[in-house]
């Protein structure tokens, strides 16, 4: 039995979800980590494996190869712009995005960016593409700012996604997180996605919950992980219970198995 629930995305419902998050959260122990490592090691992979909520939702199906585009760059730049605005509240979103763009390009021109990085791509992008990147990042930051303006609790824009490297299993897990809400007793994590939630949105949320708990040095799960789909005006959430963590871990391992089967089928 999992704790997945569904609400319309309004300030009232979002605050209710934050305030009603359970106080007691599950904790992953070293035994849990060892057990997960053993399961991933059993699924042999020829190269390094990266899994996230998206791969769980797609049941391990490989999509098109990643390429930088205004849509793929918007989240990094939009969140960074909001972090700037938190420090300098008088800055507009557009100015925040432009400053972040300038910083990214400076990184490339000063030799700190590697091939294939966002900085590298931006530095070589023509003027109109940079304009479109700005427009997309402004869209992202504005919708996230509208969400956070209505939150009563203390919040901050997440400094980065959560990563967990499964030791000796050549596997890296990544969980998206956009806003962190600090409560005295626990934390609530908010992640934002475009489009509308599909049938596999619940497993995706649970995968993010599990990875977030694994990435915590004490293994503490977030009290609640809330997924927002502003374009659809809905939010889904799961609680940091052991049942949800187990379900999330199972889905991640299943995804690794599905990926291996597809590779085997392709090779045959």
């Amino acid at each position: 039995m999992t704790s997945l629930s569904h609400r319309r995305l309004t300030d009232e419902y979002l605050n209710e979800l934050i305030e009603s998050a359970p106080c007691a959260v599950a904790q992953l122990t070293d035994d849990h980590r060892r057990s997960l490592t053993a399961r991933f090691r059993a699924v042999v992979t020829p190269g390094h494996r990266r899994l996230d909520a998206w791969s769980v939702e797609q049941a391990g199906q490989r999509g098109r190869a990643f390429r930088w585009a205004p849509v793929t760059a918007r989240r990094v730049l939009g969140n960074a712009a909001l972090r700037r605005i938190a420090v300098q509240p008088l800055t507009t979103i557009t100015a925040g995005v432009r400053d972040e763009l300038a910083d990214q390009m400076l990184r490339a021109t000063s030799g700190y960016a590697r091939d294939g990085s966002l900085s590298y791509w931006l530095a070589s992008a023509p003027h109109p593409v940079l304009g479109l990147v700005t427009a997309e990042a402004v869209n992202w930051a504005t919708q996230l700012q509208e969400v956070t303006e209505g939150i009563h609790a203390n919040w901050s824009v997440a400094p980065s996604d959560a990563y967990y490297d499964v030791a000796t299993a050549r596997t890296t897990l990544r969980a998206r997180r956009d806003v962190l809400i600090d409560r005295d007793d626990a934390r609530v994590v908010v992640r934002v996605r475009s489009g509308s939630p599909g049938k596999s949105a619940g497993p995706g949320l649970r995968a993010d919950l599990t990875i977030d708990a694994l990435a915590d040095h004490e293994g503490l799960a977030p009290a609640r992980l809330i997924g927002l789909w502003p374009e659809a005006g809905v939010c889904l959430c799961v609680d940091g219970t052991m049942a949800d963590l187990r379900a999330g871990a199972r889905d991640l391992v299943r995804t690794a198995v599905a990926q291996r089967r597809q590779r085997t089928a392709l090779a045959a």
């Binding site: 992008a125 109109p128 304009g131 479109l132 374009e231």
Partner: protein, 264 residues
């Protein structure tokens, strides 16, 4: 002969801002009622049956089949897409020197490849030059009317919305060219701005209402006004959003659902 005025007689920014002292209090109560009207109406059309493939309603679905729309031609659609790209660039204060080249460059980075781009690549030099000249004229009209949009108004371009109704049997999809204002103030401040390269007609009015309806359903907050601007004629239509406008759009959506359901 085409002549261009030194300055546009219409200021879009002024029209969107309106009289600040007359803005109504934010309405967060109507969305639930509109959703119920839609759900009940869809139930009457489709019953309780759960369909495998949902009916998808877009702004273009509301246009009457008998209406001739110049946007339906390949070149017309191309022009529309490129003007939308120009609007996106203008909304964040990017200066545009060559509208056709800049819009095309931005669009290619966004979509990679698609049928419309292939259609563009098949155009010969004359057709391409005509499209570029045409786009220049549309962009001059747009940029003169639009002016500079203050960043404080939180402009966001190509704002998408998806609404599932009746348990997912019907999906409303929408893209508004430009949205300004925010949903968190005490008074209504969201303005929806749509650009078309066609002359304005009944279809444009339906589209304006549809944008307002989907925005209301998505945010549970009624927008302040909905506008549409024709880069072909320089006309700007502005409507303040109220319950009757949204209820009319509900009827139009239900009528469209009826047509789509009958055509299955």
């Amino acid at each position: 002969m085409t002549t261009l005025l030194d300055s546009s007689p219409i200021s879009v920014v002024d029209a969107l801002r309106g009289d600040r002292s007359k803005r109504p209090l934010i309405d967060t109560a109507s969305a639930a009622g509109l959703r119920s009207l839609l759900d009940d109406g869809i139930y009457e059309v489709m019953g309780a049956e759960r369909v495998m493939t949902p009916l998808v309603v877009r702004a273009s679905s509301l246009h009457r089949a008998s209406t001739t729309d110049i946007m339906t031609s390949g070149t017309g659609r191309l022009r529309g897409v490129l003007v939308s790209q120009v609007l996106r660039l203008l909304s964040v204060g990017v200066s545009i020197d060559h509208p056709f080249d800049d819009a095309l460059c931005a669009w290619r980075s966004e979509v990679g490849t698609n049928d419309l781009l292939e259609h563009l690549d098949r155009l010969d030099d004359d057709e391409r030059a005509r499209l570029a000249t045409d786009l220049d004229a549309h962009c001059v009209t747009l940029s003169r009317a639009l002016g500079e949009i203050p960043a404080r108004w939180r402009p966001r371009s190509a704002a998408r919305a998806i609404q599932r109704l009746a348990g997912g049997n019907v999906v409303l999809r929408d893209v508004v060219d430009l949205v300004i204002g925010n949903t968190t103030s005490d008074v209504a401040s969201i303005a929806l701005f749509d650009v078309t390269t066609s002359p304005l007609g009944e279809g444009a009015e339906r589209t304006m209402r549809y944008h307002a309806l989907v925005q209301t359903l998505r945010t549970s907050t009624m927008p302040l006004r909905t506008c549409t601007f024709s880069t072909a004629t320089g006309e700007l239509w502005v409507r303040d959003v109220d319950y009757s406008l949204l209820a009319r759009s509900v009827d139009e959506v239900l009528s469209c659902v009826q047509d789509l359901w009958s055509a299955r």
